[in-house]
């Protein structure tokens, strides 16, 4: 019963009367009217009570005793529940799947929910391809991907290659060609040298900046918008259809919106995914 020991100090008044039973028990109980009442009842009904003082103390004592352990175990119980609760909450928060965190980004369009056929992924198709969503966020694509080793392209690139890069887990940042140079520089700093990222201008955007991952799109007005980093952190690699080891090098490094499916001697038979 070592557990009950720490409970005692919390309830000092009771402890005084119960803890020192032999000395303090009697006077303490006698002071109280309630004690006297119950004591009388007990004394009357008890057939075998040996000593007269017994009836006085017991009720008092047992009432006092009852609260000590109860308070203790309630306290410990609350503590235990709190520990479990906080821990479970932390685990739940930490384990929030990236899909949920992506959907929580304000303004993001989740085509994986909106248009499941679009993001099924997969098949290679040579030559120019028409995309309904622009910039494209998924769908058929050329067998060659755009190089996405943190490449910064200063001219528009072919959608047919870029979509393949998205399939490999790339976040493709596009900006309207009239975006001020200092804004472009900020985007470049986020991208350059970081695999599974690429940057290019894109004609005809309805917003200054548009971010694409496989099945996700977010349009923002400003390179300082904090959601850009959220989008990158949440979807880069995570959005890959083919996992974290899908390649980003060995891709097309040239710009131009006409797809280059015939890559010539420089790009012989690419392994197709």
């Amino acid at each position: 019963m070592s557990i009950s020991t720490p409970g005692g100090p919390e309830r000092r008044p009771t402890v005084v009367s119960t803890g020192k039973k032999p000395a303090a028990g009697r006077p303490a109980a006698a002071d109280k009217p309630s004690g006297g009442r119950t004591a009388a009842g007990k004394g009357a009904s008890r057939p075998t009570g040996g000593k007269g003082r017994k009836p006085v103390t017991p009720v008092k004592v047992s009432q006092g005793r009852a609260w000590g352990p109860i308070a203790l175990f309630v306290a410990v119980g609350v503590l235990a529940v709190a520990i479990i609760g906080v821990g479970a909450w932390a685990v739940y928060q930490g384990a929030q799947p990236w899909e949920k965190r992506a959907d929580a980004i304000n303004g993001i369009v989740d085509f994986r929910k909106k248009d499941k056929d679009l993001v099924k992924g997969g098949q290679h198709q040579p030559g120019p391809i028409k995309y309904d969503v622009l910039p494209p966020v998924g769908g058929p694509h050329n067998q060659a991907w755009q190089n996405c080793m943190g490449d910064v392209y200063d001219a528009p690139i072919a959608n047919e290659h870029a979509v393949h890069s998205l399939e490999h887990g790339t976040v493709w940042i596009t900006y309207r060609p009239d975006l001020p140079a200092d804004q472009v520089a900020k985007l470049k700093a986020k991208v350059q040298g970081k695999e599974k990222l690429m940057l290019s201008p894109f004609e005809g955007l309805d917003k200054p900046i548009s971010l694409q991952a496989w099945g996700f799109q977010l349009k923002v007005d400003n390179a300082d918008d904090g959601r850009i980093d959220d989008f990158i952190k949440t979807l880069r690699v995570n959005a890959s259809v083919e996992g974290p080891t899908a390649l980003c090098d060995q891709g097309v490094t040239a710009t131009g919106t006409t797809p280059r499916d015939n890559l010539g001697n420089n790009m012989p038979e690419q392994p197709t995914q």
């Binding site: 103390t57 047992s62 410990v76 821990g87 930490g94 350059q192 040298g193 970081k194 974290p244 080891t245």
Partner: protein, 224 residues
């Protein structure tokens, strides 16, 4: 009536006081023991459940920083290795390029699996090398130690013949020297046993590579 009721309760409480202390102790003892066992089990369960959460490497740990940065570092080595495998003229350059590309791609898989098992994102938002004590000072133009600039990579892609072989060997030696420095960083600062073991194997491999890359460069008449 009231007397009977009192009697009942009195019978319950009769053993109290004096010798009755033991009765209370016994009564509450059973309850307390049961409660203590339940609470203890709950706490133990919660502890067991949560300990891995608190002890596995976190978002800002050296382990996570290493896994993420070394993934990026390796990715460029894979790019260079694949170029060598395809574009190299010298048989040893082609062979060593394929070896490095496949080996490091495998290690990327290992590191990414760590991150997933630690419930962390595959990439972070901290600047490169932030996890290493002397790391930030080693970053040049946003590039980790030994990494090639986009211009250097473009030059390598455009090179052919012996020029390619020499350029590849020079760049890969530099890349590996930087990589070994980063591995030393995690061997110094890391705590996770598996990470330390894998890092040591990475270091062994890259040091062997360095010996062979340097010998090949010498054989081809190049210098660093």
């Amino acid at each position: 009536m009231s007397a009977a009721a009192t009697t009942d309760s009195d019978l319950d409480e009769a053993p109290v006081t004096d010798s009755g202390d033991r009765g209370v102790a016994r009564r509450f003892g059973v309850l307390a023991l049961a409660a203590a066992v339940v609470v203890g089990l709950l706490l133990g369960y919660a502890g067991g459940l949560l300990t891995p959460t608190f002890t596995r490497p976190g978002e800002s740990s050296a382990e996570a920083g290493f896994a993420r940065d070394m993934t990026a570092h390796h990715a460029q080595a894979v790019a260079m290795g694949l170029l060598a495998f395809r574009q190299g003229q010298d048989p040893e350059v082609r062979q060593i390029g394929g070896d490095i590309a496949t080996g490091q791609q495998g290690e990327i898989g290992t590191m990414q699996t760590w991150l997933r098992s630690w419930k962390l994102d595959p990439t972070g938002d901290e600047p490169p090398m932030a996890w290493m004590s002397d790391g930030p000072g080693l970053v040049k133009n946003g590039l980790m130690p030994g990494m090639a600039t986009p211009e250097e990579m473009a030059k390598l892609r455009g090179a052919t013949g012996r020029e390619f072989d020499v350029l590849f060997l020079q760049m890969m030696i530099r890349h590996h020297v930087g990589g070994v420095h980063m591995i030393d960083g995690i061997l110094d600062q890391g705590h996770d046993d598996d990470v330390l073991k894998v890092a040591q194997v990475m270091k062994n491999t890259q040091q062997n590579d360095l010996t062979n890359l340097s010998a090949a460069l010498k054989r081809l008449g190049g210098t660093l």
